[in-house]
């Protein structure tokens, strides 16, 4: 490549400047170390990708080609980092901590709700479970509750398994 900003030499210089920014001097790096590493490794791949390539032709395909190369490099650099045990542990820890925080918040809200005499989520859940248990109760119990049902003609196989023929009963929503 002769002209334009995309010479390998230019990218190498930009890459060197970023490295100096990140690791040299006393200035704080603009990103956290993982993101900086990702950026640097992406740039390194991008530079290698540009080296030896024929100059892109005129037209909008040029930008797209460069963009696609950048994305390919970013994904391959990210894949290396994302597969590392430290990254996997950080992903899981982020989710676990979010759920711990949610559990603490929920416990706080439940205590407040009790003080104001409002139904708590735990109480609503308990009611739901009772309803589900009643719905799943064995046939004789249901028959005692609604004697008329027992006189209906016996349903076929599918109904015996707890299903309903669509059209006669809609699925619970």
């Amino acid at each position: 490549m002769q002209d334009g900003p995309w010479t390998a030499q230019n990218w190498a210089q930009a890459f060197q400047r970023l490295q100096q920014q990140a690791f040299g001097g006393n200035a704080a790096p603009p990103f956290d170390p993982a993101n900086m590493r990702l950026l640097l490794e992406t740039l390194q791949r991008f530079t290698c990708g540009l080296t030896g390539e024929p100059p892109p032709q005129d037209g909008s395909a040029r930008l797209r080609e460069l963009y696609d190369l950048w994305i390919d490099c970013a994904e391959s650099a990210y894949a290396v980092i994302a597969h590392e045990p430290a990254f996997a542990a950080a992903q899981a820890a982020t989710i676990n901590e979010a759920y711990k925080s949610q559990a603490n918040m929920r416990s706080l809200v439940e205590r407040l709700a009790q003080q104001f005499g409002l139904a708590t989520l735990a109480e609503v859940d308990a009611l739901r479970e009772r309803i589900a248990a009643l719905e799943a109760a064995p046939a004789p119990v249901k028959a005692r509750r609604k004697p008329a049902r027992a006189q209906r003609p016996r349903a076929k196989t599918a109904a015996r398994r707890g299903g309903t023929r669509a059209g006669t009963s809609k699925p619970r929503r």
């Binding site: 002209d3 334009g4 900003p5 230019n10 990218w11 210089q13 930009a14 005129d58 037209g59 909008s60 040029r62 930008l63 797209r64 963009y67 696609d68 994305i71 970013a74 994904e75 990210y78 894949a79 994302a82 597969h83 045990p85 996997a88 542990a89 992903q91 899981a92 820890a93 989710i95 676990n96 759920y99 711990k100 949610q102 559990a103 929920r106 859940d125 739901r128 479970e129 309803i131 589900a132 076929k156 196989t157 599918a158 398994r161 707890g162 299903g163 309903t164 023929r165 669509a166 059209g167 009963s169 809609k170 699925p171 619970r172 929503r173």
Partner: protein, 365 residues
């Protein structure tokens, strides 16, 4: 790199062209209203929030044996019938197959304690019972399981072997701990009991994880590529339908999440023959039916390494592995994948044809 290099007339033209494409794209997107374009179907049975649909035939039936399609619970099954020219379901209907689909519905908090024993033992088994009752003379159905639905189909077949004649699995994880499975690596450290104790797992969380597997492609590049054909309404409509499907993720019932992540992703119990559903051990060696295992070579969610081992785990003597050069979503909607339905139909037809002479021989005997 100097800023002046961008000032050359060639680059200025290029940026301007990109900007004008962006304006056209915004205009086209604003006027798009893609309607759902699924094939006609009827709800024929329901249990809990699950519904069994039967698709209306569009051609004369070529087989007496119906096919039950089982999709994942983490997404809606709409992608199997996205639109007329991108539809696995229509492809199968076009080959004369009587297609049923079990839709798991949208779980809510009341379903958080429902585990796989409910979904397989009651919903899927009830659906199969209905299909058998509706097709007198048929003793077993064909099953096509997709993604997580493929794992469910495998478990169902192992537990209810006599109800399944032929099994097709598509992009189905079996070995959940292969070295290239990024999702599995991230899942190892999850505190599953803590997460499940909070209730159902939101679809948004799962989607965020899926997107984080390929963040640059899935949050930037696919949108940038829309600039290539900003006038193409048909292509943009397909894209919008797919986007709508991707981000329409139902909640995962807490108990199903616990079983899937702890037992399968963390402990790899299906591979080790230790997975238990409703008190019954899932032994894949009980699968003696013909099995067609389809997987995608560029799948980032279910890498081929997660699907390939199936052949060694089952007792079937008729096992076919079919690798397609596409990705996880491409297997539903890419143009190349549109031939898949024909291949599945042909594979089923061959098994049906092989069965007929042996049946006739038995009768004569």
């Amino acid at each position: 790199m100097t800023a002046t290099a961008f000032d050359s007339p060639g680059w200025q033209r290029e940026w301007l062209e990109l900007a004008s494409r962006g304006a056209v794209l915004a205009q086209t997107l604003a006027t798009l209203a893609p309607e759902p374009a699924g094939a006609a179907r009827d709800a024929v049975w329901a249990h809990g929030k699950s519904t069994l649909y039967r698709y209306r035939a569009c051609t004369e039936s070529s087989s007496r044996r119906p096919l039950l399609v089982v999709f994942a619970m983490v997404n809606r099954p709409d992608v199997l019938d996205l639109q007329p020219d991108r539809s696995l379901i229509r492809g199968l209907l076009g080959k004369g197959i009587d297609v049923y689909l079990i839709d798991w519905g949208r779980a809510d908090r009341a379903d958080r304690k429902l585990g796989l024993d409910h979904y397989l033992g009651q919903c899927m088994d009830g659906a199969v019972a209905h299909m058998l009752a509706a097709n007198p003379g048929v003793r077993a159905v064909d099953v096509l399981g997709v993604c997580q639905g493929g794992t469910l189909a495998l478990c169902y077949t192992a537990l209810h072997a006599r109800h399944v004649a032929n099994l097709v699995t598509m992009i189905t994880p079996v070995d959940f701990k292969t070295p290239d499975n990024l999702l599995s690596k991230w899942a190892q450290g999850l505190d599953v009991d803590l997460i499940a104790s909070a209730g159902n797992v939101p679809g948004e969380l799962l989607n965020a994880l899926f997107v984080a597997l390929k963040p640059f492609r899935l949050t930037q590049q696919k949108y940038f590529h829309l600039l290539a054909k900003p006038h193409d309404r048909a292509q943009l409509e397909t894209f919008m339908r797919l986007e709508r499907w991707i981000f329409d993720s139902p909640e995962q019932p807490a108990e199903v999440f616990r079983q899937f992540v702890r037992d399968l992703y963390q402990q790899n119990q299906l591979m080790r023959g230790e997975f238990v559903i409703g008190g019954q051990r899932v032994d894949l060696r009980r699968i003696r039916q013909p099995v067609l295992n389809v997987f995608a070579s560029r799948d980032h969610l279910v890498p081929p390494s997660a699907s390939r081992p199936l052949g060694q785990l089952i007792a079937s003597r008729d096992y076919t592995a079919l690798e397609i050069d596409t990705g996880h979503i491409g297997i539903y909607v890419s143009r190349a994948a549109q031939t898949l339905s024909a291949r599945v139909a042909a594979w089923l037809a061959e098994r049906e044809a092989a069965r007929k002479p042996s049946r006739a021989k038995r009768k004569r005997g």
